[in-house]
Amino acid sequence: MSLLEVRDLRTHFFTRAGVVKAVEGVSFSLAKGEILGLVGESGSGKSVTGFSLIGLVDPPGRIAGGSIRFEGRELVGLPAQEMRALRGKRIAMVFQDPAATLNPVLSIGQQMALAVRAHGRASEAAARDLAARTLTRVGIPDAAARLDAYPHEFSGGMRQRVAIATALLHGPDLIIADEPTTALDVSIQAQILAEMKSLAKETGTALVWISHDLATVSSLADRVLVMYAGRIVEAGAVGETLRAPRHPYTRGLLDSLPAMARPGEKLNQIPGTTPSLLSLPPGCPFAPRCPRADATCATDPPDVVTAGRLVRCHHPLEAS
């Protein structure tokens, strides 16, 4: 049985301007220890998908339909108290901006101890000890001595390590990481990626890695989901999907990367901009920007799965 089964997830925001369907019919599953990359541009619904998994969608948003099964247990509609018992213990989250997630007026040791005690009794000494050991695991030198430091005394990379250590405290089965290295410098990002990869391998923790950066996802994840306007447009094994993408949007994203072109040559850009979620075109939301679109694209494209690759397109590119 897979660790996580998401079926037809729909998360909508009921705003004054209308219903924003941020996530519309997303389905995927995740095995124990697997790393799943969730890729898309702003407004694609990748972050809202992550927030939905851990039950952190705030009004005016709510999960409007679908199912999220975690080890067979339905999370949609779970009472807040039961969700709270899971959150931080079995499912943890790492956010983009560690400066915003850490409490500035508590020392690192104090806030990590709070997280330890949120899920069971522990003496002050035991909580500090667990915090220090976890900090050491994420590569913070001399961790015991740094427990009394405050977040502002840490660099951005170190703060993100603290946030990751806090997520690891209870040995969760699933960590959702929302753009955790986007705010960091390349050399620090590489350190964190290397550590996350080995931690996931060591502990068997499954990871949902949300990112706009295809290169980061390709070097970390086992499988990738590409999202556009709230839907999954393509999903498959990461290497294959990026080597031979079948959805025109995935192809377009890859062609937009300077690394894929010869220096100084024009990039094969996608025309136009992402559509407003309030006024999506009928059928395939990518059709207005798609070079392969025709009249059939005004109807919803089917989900086609071939050899483990899901493509949602009327006119997919040839499989190679």
């Binding site: 410098d185 050399s187 590489a190 706009h212 094994a237 994203l253 990367l257 990039l267």
Partner: protein
């Protein structure tokens, strides 16, 4: 040489409060250390060339860009733009160099119609008349791929990519010889980033622009630059033709930086190998002795700890500041 910097240094000294000054006078310990943002940087850019300036946050690349653009005077050293100093005293004194900033939401006045934002500079400097301005604005909007009818709109009515197009139009309407681009695509989505990079390449070719392109993104810099300069803690550690530096970096920091960039892994056999640089950036308040990179450098020796290596030319023309390269 259309753009030149000679021994440019920028230090930011702390502005002491009256309380601190009194405390200092009475013998208390007051932190007077200055931030060494840029130290002794010399570079030159020839007409039509694009120089990429790369480095991580806090390396001084934006400060250097601002000094070159005449926005900020250097503490020491000299900047020349088209044969003249870009500043008189504390004020910008040239229109020959213009800047495109990272965040077009912050750099465009939210209360001004974008047509007025674009026209303001050229009208003030007599490059066009008030009567001619609307035609000039329409021309520039069309040139950056926007509908000329947008001139009467306000910045909030545009998406991030469109705002960056407006910012480019505003800079180019001043008919500069040199354009400084400070992280112009860093806050844009991948597909929009590609559109802006394409626009930039087109305009550069059509107008024969000289550019200083500042970015932390190594692949973007490689794409647009003829030459690159890598900065670390306020100094240039390596500079040369983009093709040579990327293909065979010599400075251990450049090597580490290029190894740190996640590569697109296109098959399962293509194992991702992270070779991160150990440690973190030192504080620019108290830079390390000798070579500033030595605490993180795998090749550092006693010489590196004691003596700062000079930036010297190697046989292929690349400039490197390293004892071991």
């Amino acid at each position: 040489m259309i753009l030149q910097a000679e021994g440019v240094t920028k230090r930011f000294s702390p502005r002491l409060s009256i309380g601190d000054r009194i405390a200092g006078a009475l013998g208390a310990k007051v932190d007077r250390r200055a931030v060494h943002a840029v130290t002794d940087v010399s570079l030159s850019v020839t007409a039509g060339e694009t120089l990429g300036l790369v480095g991580e946050s806090g390396c001084g690349k934006s400060t250097l860009g601002r000094m070159l653009a005449g926005i900020m005077p250097p503490t020491e050293g000299r900047v020349m733009v088209a044969g003249a100093a870009p500043m008189k005293g504390r004020h910008k004194a040239t229109t020959r160099i213009q800047t495109v900033f990272q965040d077009p939401f912050a750099s465009l006045n939210p209360r001004m119609r974008i047509g007025d934002s674009i026209a303001e500079g050229p009208v003030t400097h007599g490059l066009t008349t008030r009567a001619e301005a609307p035609r000039m604005v329409a021309e520039w909007l069309a040139r950056v791929g926007l509908d000329p009818a947008f001139a009467t709109r306000f910045p909030h009515q545009f998406s991030g990519g469109q705002r960056q197009r407006v910012a480019i139009a505003r800079a180019l309407a001043m008919q500069p010889d040199v354009l400084v681009c400070d992280e112009p695509v860093a806050s844009l989505d991948v597909s929009i980033q590609a559109q802006i990079l394409n626009l930039f390449l087109d305009l550069r070719r059509d107008l024969g622009l000289t550019c200083l392109f500042i970015s932390h993104d190594l692949s973007v810099v490689r794409h647009v630059s003829d030459r690159v300069a890598i900065m670390y803690l306020g100094r240039i550690v390596e500079a040369g033709s983009a093709a040579k530096v990327y293909a065979s970096p010599r400075h251990p920091y450049t090597q580490g930086l290029l190894d740190s960039v996640p590569k697109l892994r296109l098959s399962i056999d293509d194992v991702a190998n992270f070779k991160p640089i150990a440690g973190e950036l030192p504080s620019p308040l108290s830079p390390p002795s000798g070579c500033a990179f030595h605490p993180r450098c795998p090749k550092a020796t006693a010489l590196c700890r004691a003596e700062r290596p000079a930036l010297t030319a190697r046989d292929d023309g690349t400039l490197v500041a390293c004892h071991r390269a």
